[in-house]
Every structure is written in C-alpha cells, then in structure tokens.
C-alpha cells in the first residue's frame, strides 16, 4: 500500500509540556511492532512465507498512518498475479490506499473476519488482521523483500 498522508517523522519526541495524566499509562501511539519472522515491502505490506504458501497483511506502521480502517476490498482472487500488482484497496475514514502483492502467485483465501470487523487490522495487523493467503509461484522473489531491520530503517522507527 502507499501511504498518502504526509506525516511528520518526529512523532514521539518527548517534552515537559505534556499534562501529567497524559504521560502514562496509555500513550496515543505504541512503539512500532515489527516481527522478525516476517518479510516486508516498501509499500508497507508484510508477508509470512510457509513453504510455497504465504499470508499477507499491512504493517503496524501502515495501519497507524491510515487510522481507522473501514474496509478492505480484495478484487483479484483465484487468478495468477505478478508481484507488485494492485490486488485490492484499503479504505480508512480519512483516505484510501492500494494494496500491492509482495510476491507473484495466486490469492486463495480472504480473511472473512476483517469484513465484519475491519478494526482488527488496526488492533492486530500481524495476527487477526491478516488480509489474504496465497500460493507462491516464484520463491526466489523473497530475496527482493525487506527484513524487519531494513523495513525499520525505511520508516525511520
């Protein structure tokens, strides 16, 4: 996905201006969560590869930038797709974004849970908020994806 919001990179600089009851225990933004066992794209998708199948979603950073997600619309299922194609869109209250396929293959399953509860993408982007499962047609493409550390550098987290 492409994040269209123009966000400041300096989001969590602390200062003493903050009223005390805001300082803890619930800051508005959590520390970015980036599981090490996933691979990432520059467009802010994650992919979990298991043999020749994979699960795909958007990163914690992406859901945070998008804000409240209203629905996920996957348009391309059960057809062979090339890496990088738009396989759907994600609508948030404020903006809409395309979803890009991290690797070539065929989408076999959509997450029915997020149709009824799109907020799962905000709450649990790497777990219950997954978007699609796919079979992979070119496993060598994974070398072009980003590790958690490389993705962390990309987003400056």
């Amino acid at each position: 996905m492409v994040i269209s919001f123009n966000s400041s990179p300096h989001l969590r600089k602390k200062s003493n201006l903050c009223p005390t009851f805001f300082k803890s225990p619930t800051p508005f933004r959590e520390i970015m969560n980036l599981p090490a066992d996933l691979l990432y794209t520059k467009e802010h998708e994650w992919i979990k590869i298991d043999g020749n199948t994979a699960t795909i979603g958007i990163t914690d950073h992406a859901q945070s930038e998008l804000g409240d997600i209203v629905y996920v619309d996957v348009t391309a299922i059960n057809e062979p797709l090339d890496k990088g194609v738009v396989f759907g869109t994600i609508e948030a209250v404020k903006t809409v974004s395309d979803l890009f396929l991290p690797m070539s293959g065929t989408i076999t399953e959509l997450n029915a849970e997020i149709e009824a509860n799109p907020e799962l993408v905000n709450k649990d982007p790497y777990g219950q908020g997954w978007m699609v499962k796919m079979t992979l047609s070119n496993l060598s493409e994974q070398s072009e994806l980003l590790s958690a550390d490389a993705y962390r550098q990309l987003i400056g987290a």
Partner: protein, 362 residues
C-alpha cells in the same frame, strides 16, 4: 513549516501530525472515530490556531466589510458575530469567514489559514484608505472546545456566565486566570461549544487548565481528521473542497448569508444568477453500496450520464455509512434522487439526501 503555540504539546502527546495550510498540525491523537464520538457525546479540544485573524478599525470599517462580504454586517452590534463570505467580481467565493463586531468601530475577521494572504490582499485592494488593518494571525491562538459537555467544562475556568452568551455571540473576559480571552459561542462541529481566542503566550497554560478541568468529563484532544468528519456530518463547507473561487454562495447553498439588500463585490452577478437559477448545486448524498466517496470522484445519473463530482466524503462515524457532498447539475439536486458514485472502475448506488446528515439531540 509554521507552528502554532501548541505544536510541541501535540507532538509530546503523540499526535499524528500533518502539514496543513503550511502549518504542522495534529490530524489525530486517539483515532478519528474515537475523537469524533468524544465530541458528539462529551467534549473535545481542537487547536485551530492556524486560522487567520484580522482586526479592522475606524469609521469606514463597517462600510469596507459591507462592500466585500455577502452577509449584512450592519445587523451586528458589539458582542455579535456572523458567518459570511468574501466574493470576487464574478461572484465566486474568495473565502468563508466569521465577522465579529467588537466595541468602538472595531471588527475581527476570522479567515481560513490557507487564504490569509489572499484575503489580506483583497481587503487592502478595497480599503479606500481610512480603515486601520492589523493581521494578528501569528500572535493569536484559537481553541475550539466542542461537544455537549464543553460549556460546563469551560464554566469551571471563568466567572463569565456562559449561559448568557447565545449562539454566534461572544464576550471578552478572564479565562483560566488569563485576561483578554474572547469566548465565542461558535464552532464547526454541530455539537455545540465555544471557540476561544487569546494571545499565544497563554496557550500552554490554557490548554493544561482545560484538561485539568475537563479530565473527569472525558475531555480529549482532537485533530483535524475528526474536525473534518464532524463538519461533514453537518454539511458545513470546507474551503478548497466544497467552495472555492469558482463556486458561488448560491450554488453552495449559502443563499442564507447572501444579502441583496446591499451592494458587494459580485452582487450583480449573483443577483442575476439568483433570478435565472443556478446551473449546479452543492448536495449531500448517502452511499447505499460499498464505496467511500472521495474528493474528485465522478457522480452520474441513474442512466449513467456524468452530472457532477464529489467535493468531500468520508465514512460517517455517527451514521456508520459512507456520506459525501458534491456539485451536481441543478435538475438532479432534489433529495431522494438516485445517483451513482464512480469508485475507481465501478459504479456504486447513492441517494441525494436533505442536509445535514447529523441532527443534534435536543
């Protein structure tokens, strides 16, 4: 990028920040939906200090305002305010604004941040020389405290009886121990509340005292994201989206602030437009299918002919469905007309509705 007196506070609170009209502004803190519901049900504070404020003084000030705004400022007495527009010679909207009538032939005009320079130049162009003008935008802070609990929270911080300030009235007084705070019963959310204007050096104190006073009533900081969804549910126009230099107040449904009892820039063009009827109208619509309207999307008739375009749209947090505003050809503008919203490659059913989408519980 410009900052407000509270930018560091927003960043410290972990707000998501964005560039808006050249200012580094908070978009959201706890999330747009949460902030939206907070304003509808309790109260929220918006830092809208990016807005522009001009002071006009002198014998000729009223005459200048009358010549370049659409509403009739001669109806105002000190302590009253009105919503109005600056129009160009073609009857297009240069900006929408609030006109405050201050004591002693003085006025305050509150304009959109993105239009401060354009509006100032417009005023200068029409000022025949006898009106003293001050742009106090950079030294003035503005907080919108909005929601059903806003008044009771604000009342804890001032001796001024807020019950005695009706809608679109204001007074100056001591607030949170700070002098010369303008308390205005106005806002752009549809949930009531006040807008308070004061000098920048009071900003951090007033912000903190507001949250001390409002914490127990659920007061939360809110960003421009929720401000946008709240105003959209009320069908309040956003300059640059729903109104601009090419749209007239009559087309935008702002006939109620366009007074032909006086002459103003573009009034003869608008008078003619009124007599002949407008060709396009700003309408509100609900989407019945799946798709969220966004600025620029096409609107088509049931038969599939292009009839206009979307100017604002979102998923309404209160209604739980997609809503939008847009201009359509006048013959399609009646409530209950079925239209189609073009979302990327597909056509989604929508229906024109009476505005506003949200009605405040009485």
């Amino acid at each position: 990028m410009k900052t407000t007196a509270l930018t560091d506070v927003h960043i410290a609170l972990g707000a998501k920040m964005t560039a808006f009209a050249g200012y580094n502004m908070p978009v959201s803190y706890s999330g747009i939906n949460d902030e939206h519901h907070t304003v509808r049900n309790a109260a929220g504070v918006f830092d809208v200090s990016h807005m522009g404020e001009f002071i006009l003084k002198g014998e000729g000030a009223l005459d200048l305002i009358q010549r370049i705004t659409t509403n009739d400022a001669s109806k105002l007495t000190p302590g009253k305010a009105q919503y109005s527009c600056f129009t160009n010679e073609q009857g297009g909207i240069i900006d929408d604004l609030i006109v405050y009538c201050l004591p002693g032939n003085a006025w305050m005009l509150v304009v959109n941040a993105s239009n401060i320079e354009k509006d100032w130049n417009h005023l200068v162009k029409y000022n025949s020389g006898n009106v003293e003008m001050h742009n106090i935008s950079d030294k003035t802070s503005l907080l919108a405290v909005q929601g059903p609990k806003a008044k009771s929270i604000l009342q804890k911080l001032t001796q001024v009886n807020l019950d005695e300030i009706p809608y679109y009235h204001f007074t100056k007084g001591v607030f949170a121990g700070r002098e010369n705070v303008l308390l205005s019963n106005t806002g752009y959310t549809g949930s009531g509340g006040f807008e308070i204007y004061f000098e920048n050096n009071h900003a951090v104190t007033i912000w903190n005292k507001l949250f001390e006073a409002g914490h127990s009533e659920g007061l939360k900081p809110c960003g421009l994201g929720a401000r946008d969804t709240l105003r959209m549910e009320m069908c309040f126009c956003l300059y640059g989206n729903d109104i601009d230099d090419t749209t007239s107040p009559l087309e935008a449904g702002l006939g109620w602030i366009t007074k032909f009892s006086k002459v103003f820039t573009g009034s003869s063009v608008l008078q003619k437009q009124k007599e002949e009827g407008v060709k396009k109208k700003l309408i509100a619509f609900e989407v019945e299918g799946k798709g969220i309207p966004r600025k620029g999307y096409d609107l088509c008739s049931e038969e599939g002919d292009l009839i206009g375009h979307v100017t604002s749209g979102t998923q309404s947090p209160t209604l739980g469905k997609p809503i939008g505003m847009g201009y359509v050809k006048a013959e399609y503008a009646k409530p209950d007309t079925k239209i189609n919203l073009m979302v990327r490659d597909s056509s989604v059913e929508a229906r024109i509705v009476k505005s506003p989408f949200y009605k405040q519980p009485s």
